[in-house]
Amino acid sequence: MTPMIDMTFQLIAFFMVLINFSEVEQDQRITLPASQLAKPPDVAYEEPLTVQITKEETVLFASDEWEIDALSTPLMREAQIIKAYGDKSLKDVTVIIRADASVKTGKVQKVIQLCQEAEFETFALRGKQSDEDTLILQ
């Protein structure tokens, strides 16, 4: 029995070391486009705001699913909330766009435009890391 208990303790130690409590907004439905240069940022963003675009061209924002045309309302609401807090302005907010690889570019640009109308200024496009050369099309 002793070896089994040893192995079990090993497994527990493994999972305890790997435990990740951060609530990263990453919906599994979205397959990001790959890039060999995609590296997690060295400095965490001051005010990150994640906007996700699924391949059905719906937007996942604020724990809800929206059509792209209906996105203005929640964006304005979020902008007002951030402004109301006082110490952070909309200039400090980085909008992180996590769009599926098969989404039309025009839709992504529309989302960016709606964010700009809500007075967000800084944008970051997110891709997943890749070890192989992503400049060569497969």
Partner: protein, 162 residues
């Protein structure tokens, strides 16, 4: 304490079952809450507001225009930087990258990299995947684990009609 004789030693039995049960409970907890988070990276883009386009920006280096055309189903039809075309083959972005490297890397003279701005003008239907590849081709390269930065200022042109 009285020193006992060697033969009179009692055997103390310890029942391990309870501990094993709790250990398994802990193990199941950690397995259930284990989340595989893949690392993701960001590319920052500049998006000037529409009002800023009317003001003249005297920059020394002219903005390069990257035109990416889409074919059926948003697949790549052509990549063109300014006047130069890179086709739509499997290595179109690789060629674009090498061209940019020649323009902007250390050989281009100091300071050109931070000045150069590229505007991406893509068809509406183009798959977003190609945009990411274009940005990868423009932004830099990895050599021996070191990342070298090429273009720093990337922005999108106005969206084209559907």
């Amino acid at each position: 304490m009285k020193i006992r004789n060697a033969q009179e030693r009692e055997k103390i039995e310890l029942n391990m079952t309870s501990m094993i049960d709790i250990v398994f409970q802990l193990l199941i907890f950690f397995i259930m809450t284990f989340k595989i988070v893949l690392p993701e990276g960001d590319f920052n883009i500049r998006m000037p507001l529409a009002s800023e386009q009317t003001s003249a920006e005297p920059s020394e280096t002219p903005t390069l225009r990257l035109r990416i055309r889409a074919g059926d189903n948003g697949l790549l039809a052509g990549v063109t930087l300014g006047e130069r075309s890179f086709g739509n083959g499997a290595d179109a972005f690789q060629q674009l990258h090498l061209h940019i490297r020649g323009l902007v890397d250390d050989e281009g003279g100091p300071g050109t990299a931070s000045e150069q701005e590229v505007e991406i003008d893509a068809d509406y239907d183009l798959r977003y995947d190609y945009i990411m590849r274009a940005i990868t081709a423009l932004s830099g390269y990895l050599e021996n684990g070191q990342r070298h930065q090429l273009i720093e200022k990337i922005r999108f042109a106005k969206p084209r009609e559907e």
